[in-house]
Symmetry: C2
């Protein structure tokens, strides 16, 4: 690898290598040696780019946000309700995490490591806010299509969505067969249509 | 400490020390050196008792089950419904975990470490079954008091309870203020009375 590689490129490659190791082999496997090895760089190059291993781990967080297609709301057929939308969103997200359990485990390891590590402590909350915004954006898209308005704070709705997705994902890691999403997710959001009302046509 | 301490006592003290370190300083802090230090034993004593550090970690799991008072169902006042019981159970469990966030974080670290570690991989599922049984037992106690029977499998009810408690506990670790249990938990179980019916008096 050319020693003339630009610093920003090296930084990006090392961050991606850190993410790849965490999401496949786990957080503890992401040593400086493993990171540089995966990035195809000499071990000694690491500290020209990052002060510490934790600084590289910090840069993994924004890289996690690559595939949030679960939050994309399709064109909704006639008769769809917000309850249908929420159940569909949580179920499709759950199926996505269940399809990649190692990735989900790696994200959970990154989460607990960051909470435990002083210099990374703030990241999970920032990340959670981003997630809440994604859920709110998706719900608002659906609400506009359905011509309804929310009767409770959007953030509360988003947090309930995230409570169920996080809890179901953890359950899936324990026992993949225990969480049958079509059986366990709809009852938790049943009745949520009461939190929405038709917008008065102006 | 007497070298004549019985082997079973040493084993128990080392397992308790391992648990105490994980639930206060975190899973990674539970080195053999830290464990023996906390137990007040010489470092060299560890391998007379345990083959490996992971063998001590394994014995932490059964020690976690000390305070399951959240599942104790009190005498239920007239007019209580199963929905009230479930919301009360999840809310009180949530408050318990929120009162001891370090302990909750330590349990989550133990969880991800065990899932990742071949020789500990089966433990979280065993633990989850125990939890499910506790929830089922508590619900059955309440059902008997209220004279109702369940219309869906008890295990499904227990899993929905655990999805919400796990998700809410994770959210609490991210941002303690974000999870207001009285706002976010009741809507998720609203309508659950439909899963129960009065027992025909024989």
């Amino acid at each position: 690898m050319s020693t003339r590689m630009r610093s920003a490129d090296r930084r990006r490659l090392l961050a991606q290598a850190t993410r790849d190791i965490i999401l496949t082999e786990g957080e503890k496997a992401a040593t400086v040696r493993a990171i540089t090895g995966r990035a195809g760089m000499p071990l000694s190059s690491f500290h020209y780019v990052y002060e510490s291993r934790e600084e590289a781990v910090r840069e993994v967080w924004p890289l996690l946000r690559a595939d949030d297609s679960f939050f994309a709301v399709p064109e909704l057929p006639e008769g769809t309700t917000m309850e249908d939308v929420i159940i569909g969103m949580v179920t499709s997200w759950f199926r996505g995490t269940a399809a990649e359990p190692l990735k989900e485990l790696g994200e959970l390891e990154l989460f607990v490591h960051s909470i435990r590590t002083e210099e990374l402590r703030a990241l999970p909350a920032e990340f959670q806010s981003t997630y809440e915004e994604l859920v709110i954006g998706a719900l608002e898209n659906a609400m506009e299509q359905l011509g309804v308005t929310a009767l409770i704070p959007m953030r509360s709705l988003a947090r309930m969505v995230l409570i169920v997705t996080d809890g179901a994902s953890k359950g899936m890691l324990v026992n993949a067969d225990a969480i049958q999403p079509d059986e366990l997710i709809p009852p938790l959001f049943s009745g949520f249509n009461r939190f929405f009302a038709a917008v008065d046509p102006a």
